[in-house]
Structures are given as structure tokens and as C-alpha cells.
């Protein structure tokens, strides 16, 4: 038998070994998965439902914990900048001067361009009209 034949037979055996090992592992994994699903199926429905609700309640508690942790974080730079520059408004609607500084806009905004003029900017359409009481 030539060396090539010997090497080929060794390689074949090795491949067969690897395949068997893989099959063994796969069958083991399948078995463990089957066992887990059997265990899950053998649980009473009430156990699963109560566990699900407990998980949801834990999530609810986690939101409270997250909010508490955030509260203890050092102050972001916004309040310091507001104090330093004397800022008065949020930069949410920068499209028009009376929406950029809502608090400082005069009483005639948004109809400020001329009497009976329509409002040009969509932001102002969602700002509450002034109270007349």
C-alpha cells in the first residue's frame, strides 16, 4: 500500500470521527433542548403566566431604578449655560422669531406681519392660543 493510500485512509477515518462527534453533540443538544421544552410544557400554565407578570413587574421596577440612577447623575451643562447667558427659551422651533422665543414674543404674534395676515409657520399652529378670560 502506498503512502498516499495510508494517508487517505487516515484522513477518511479522521473525518468520520469528526462527523460522529458532531452527530453526537447535535443529538446531545437536541436531547437537552427537548428536555427543556418538555420541562417548560410540564409547567402549569399559571406558573408561566405568573412568571411572565413577575417579569413585567420587574421591568416596571427597573424603569424606576433607571430614573433614580439618572437623577443622581451630575447636572448636564444646560442649566449652567442658561444661567450664564440668561437664556429664556428652548431651541425647539427655530423657524420664526416668535416661535424661537415663545416667551418673549409680543402679544400680536403670529399675526405680526400685517393685520389679518395668515401664519406662515407650522410650529405656531400647534401653540395654544392665548387665554381670553
Amino acid at each position: 500500500m502506498s503512502l498516499r493510500c495510508v494517508l487517505a485512509s487516515l484522513l477518511r477515518r479522521q473525518r468520520l470521527g469528526v462527523r460522529r462527534l458532531r452527530q453526537g453533540l447535535a443529538s446531545q443538544g437536541l436531547a437537552s433542548r427537548r428536555l427543556a421544552s418538555q420541562r417548560l410544557a410540564s409547567q402549569r400554565p399559571s406558573t408561566l403566566a405568573l412568571a411572565g407578570l413577575a417579569l413585567g413587574l420587574a421591568g416596571l421596577c427597573a424603569t424606576g431604578i433607571e430614573a433614580g440612577v439618572q437623577e443622581r447623575q451630575p447636572d448636564p451643562p444646560s442649566p449652567a449655560l442658561v444661567r450664564e447667558l440668561g437664556l429664556t427659551d428652548l431651541a425647539l422651533f427655530t423657524e420664526a422669531r416668535y416661535t424661537r422665543h415663545l416667551a418673549l414674543a409680543d402679544g400680536h404674534a403670529p399675526f405680526q406681519d400685517h393685520p389679518m395676515s395668515f401664519d406662515h409657520f407650522p410650529s405656531a399652529s400647534l401653540v395654544a392660543p392665548p387665554r381670553h378670560d
Binding site: S46, L50, P79, L90, A91, R97, L102, D106, F121, P122
Partner: protein, 378 residues
């Protein structure tokens, strides 16, 4: 395990098995119910987060801002105006401010140009807001030119970009020196945009405003509490607008849930009749149905609320952001601080879980107190 608890667990087992027989219907109900809670909770969490953020940052804004009005419109503060205010008891500091707006035709956005009194800037240097830096692709050290309203071209060097974490307040800011500001806007010498007053005692603020209004009839004092109220009203109004739009969906769900909960099917009637015939008490039937309604509504509440929390505080409220915030070219990127409002949570719980659970019980109680034979024959 106590007998009571064991008994309740058996009732839950039975309820879940009964629900399993109508799997598609109950899963559909759970999905729609969770979606409804998600939408409501998202709107509530988002607007509450914005309201709290505005309250927190605006707590540091000036106590009183004084504007001068001419024909009902804001006008510049002329020279000598500050002296007319004179000394008012309780006022710690009076400061005249220079600020204005500039429209940038390159990106079609408005900037707020402002002179910071506490941060002296060299001539030709500016400090810019993060949204503007992003939009124009600027970093510290870059040069930028603006054509002023007089037609002259001004070139500034970006000395600094304001921190991204302050973007909610500083997205469109351009800070520059007083000399540059006056030259750029051709601002008349000795004139200012408005005046801020620092008042030490919060109880004195209204008195100071009244004295200012009396001394300067053409002035309009704006108090910090009014500014905060404006923003609270703004977000309340927007929340109301969104909820009004959603009210159709809410009503549709209410009808759907009421129909599902209050109208017993022939199969359910027969089931109750058989249970009573084999010895179940009316109380047990009620408890079993209570668990059915309670499990669905509680699961929907938890699923919907947790999904809304992730949506608002971790995915930046992507679905509602455009409606609840506004429209702008320079839009601030910011993340809301997670906050739990107990009253809000309780309100949401009461209005989503309680009505459905109650609606389930009424028809069951009617059927449970009737004779089993009559129930089965009905």
C-alpha cells in the same frame, strides 16, 4: 402554599385553558390592547419628559426680562432707559442684553446671535451651537462668513462649539463680542435688545414687575414663572392635540373591548352553565373570569408601558417626536431624562386596566347568578 393561593392558581390554570380555546381572539385582543397602552404611555411619557426638562433648565433663566414696546411691537432699548429704571429695592443686578436673529440662506435656517456678558470673546471669534456646527460642518478653528443685512461680508473664526449636552437650549446660538455684534447688525450705539433683572427674593418678583410697569409705561416685564408657564401650557396643549387625534382610536378600542367583554357568546354561556351544574359556586365563576380579564389587561398594560418606556427614553420617541416637538431646519438632538411620575402611572393604570376588568365581570355576574338550566338553554 396556602389553600387560598392554591385555589387561585387552579382558577388561573382553568382561565388560561379556557382562553387557549379562543387563542386567536385573545391574542388579537392582547396585541391591540398593548398597542393602545403603548401609544397612550408614549405620549404621556414624552410630554412629561419635555415638560420636566423645560422646567429644569428654565429654572436658571433671569427672574425678569424687560422689553420696550412701540405700537405693541418689541423695540430697541434707547440710551438713558436703564437710568430711568433707577434703583428698585430687591433688584440685585440690571443688565442690558444684545441679541438678534440672522437668517442663513445657505442652509435656510435662523440663528440667534447673542453677546455673552460673562464670556468675553476676541474680535472676529464666535462660539457656535452644536446643531449649527453639525448643519454647516464646522469644528473649532474653522472660518465661516455671513453676509450682514447691510450687504457686507463678515468672516468669523469658530473658537468653540458648545457642548452637545446643552443642545436643547443652544442648538442655534452664535455667541460673539459686542463690537462684532454692533458692526454686523449696524446696531445703533447705546441701544440694546432688552434688559434682564436679577431679583434675590422670589416673593419680591411681582412687586418689582409692578414697579417697573409703573415707572416705564412702554415697558413689558416678562417674569420667569410666566416663561415656565408658557412651556408647560405648550406641552399640555400638544399632548391634548395628539390625544384628540388618538381619541378616535381610543373610542374604537372602547367599543371593541366593551363588545368583547360585555357580550357573552353562546359557548361561554354554556360553559358557565356546565360549571354551575357540576357544582361551581357563582363566586368561583366570577373569580375565574376576573383572572381572565385581569391577566389580559395587566399583561397589556405591562407590555405597552415597557415598550413605551424603551421607545421614549432609548429610541428617542421616534414615532411622536415630530408632532410633539415642532418643525425646524436646525433641530436639536437631545435625549430626555427618564423620569417616573407616580400619579401619571396610576392614571394610566386606572384608565386602561380597571374598565376592561370591570366590563368583563358584569355580564358574567348576571349569567353566574342565573339558574344553570336557564343559562344553558338561553
Amino acid at each position: 402554599m396556602t389553600d387560598g393561593f392554591r385555589r387561585q392558581r387552579y382558577l388561573i390554570d382553568f382561565s388560561l385553558a379556557a382562553m387557549g380555546r379562543r387563542k386567536v381572539r385573545n391574542l388579537g385582543l392582547l396585541a391591540v390592547y398593548s398597542l393602545l397602552v403603548f401609544v397612550l404611555a408614549s405620549v404621556m411619557l414624552f410630554t412629561h419628559g419635555l415638560r420636566q426638562e423645560a422646567k429644569r433648565v428654565l429654572a436658571e433663566s433671569p427672574e425678569v426680562i424687560l422689553q420696550r414696546l412701540v405700537a405693541g411691537r418689541q423695540d430697541l432699548i434707547p440710551p438713558g432707559y436703564l437710568e430711568r429704571i433707577g434703583r428698585i429695592r430687591g433688584v440685585q443686578k440690571i443688565q442690558a442684553r444684545l441679541w438678534g436673529y440672522y437668517y442663513d440662506p445657505v442652509v435656510k435656517a435662523n440663528y440667534t446671535f447673542m453677546v455673552p456678558e460673562a464670556r468675553p470673546l476676541a474680535a472676529g471669534e464666535i462660539v457656535i451651537g452644536p446643531a449649527m456646527a453639525r448643519e454647516r460642518g464646522l469644528v473649532a478653528g474653522n472660518l465661516i462668513s455671513f453676509r450682514s443685512y447691510s450687504g457686507r461680508l463678515f468672516t468669523f473664526k469658530v473658537a468653540e462649539v458648545l457642548p452637545q449636552a446643552s443642545e436643547l437650549m443652544s442648538a442655534d446660538l452664535v455667541l460673539l463680542g459686542a463690537g462684532d455684534f454692533r458692526a454686523f447688525f449696524d446696531f445703533p450705539a447705546g441701544h440694546y435688545t432688552d434688559i434682564t433683572l436679577t431679583v434675590a427674593n422670589p416673593l419680591e418678583v411681582r412687586n418689582v414687575a409692578a414697579k417697573l410697569a409703573a415707572a416705564l409705561p412702554d415697558a413689558r416685564p416678562i417674569l420667569r414663572e410666566e416663561v415656565q408657564r408658557t412651556y408647560a401650557a405648550l406641552f399640555d396643549w400638544r399632548e391634548g392635540m395628539v390625544l384628540t387625534v388618538l381619541s378616535g382610536a381610543l373610542l374604537a378600542f372602547a367599543i371593541f373591548a366593551w363588545d368583547k367583554a360585555s357580550g357573552l357568546s353562546a359557548e361561554e354561556r354554556r360553559e358557565i352553565g356546565i360549571l354551575k351544574a357540576i357544582g361551581w359556586e357563582s363566586g368561583d365563576v366570577l373569580r375565574m373570569k376576573f383572572w381572565e380579564g385581569g391577566l389580559i389587561s395587566l399583561a397589556a398594560f405591562l407590555l405597552g408601558y415597557l415598550a413605551a418606556w424603551v421607545h421614549v427614553f432609548h429610541l428617542d420617541g421616534a414615532l411622536f417626536r415630530p408632532v410633539l416637538q415642532g418643525w425646524a431646519v436646525l433641530y436639536p438632538h437631545f435625549r430626555l431624562t427618564p423620569e417616573v411620575d407616580g400619579l401619571q402611572l396610576a392614571t394610566l393604570f386606572f384608565f386602561t386596566v380597571f374598565p376592561y376588568t370591570a366590563a368583563v365581570l358584569v355580564p358574567i355576574w348576571r349569567a353566574a347568578i342565573t339558574d344553570p338550566d336557564a343559562v344553558m338553554r338561553a
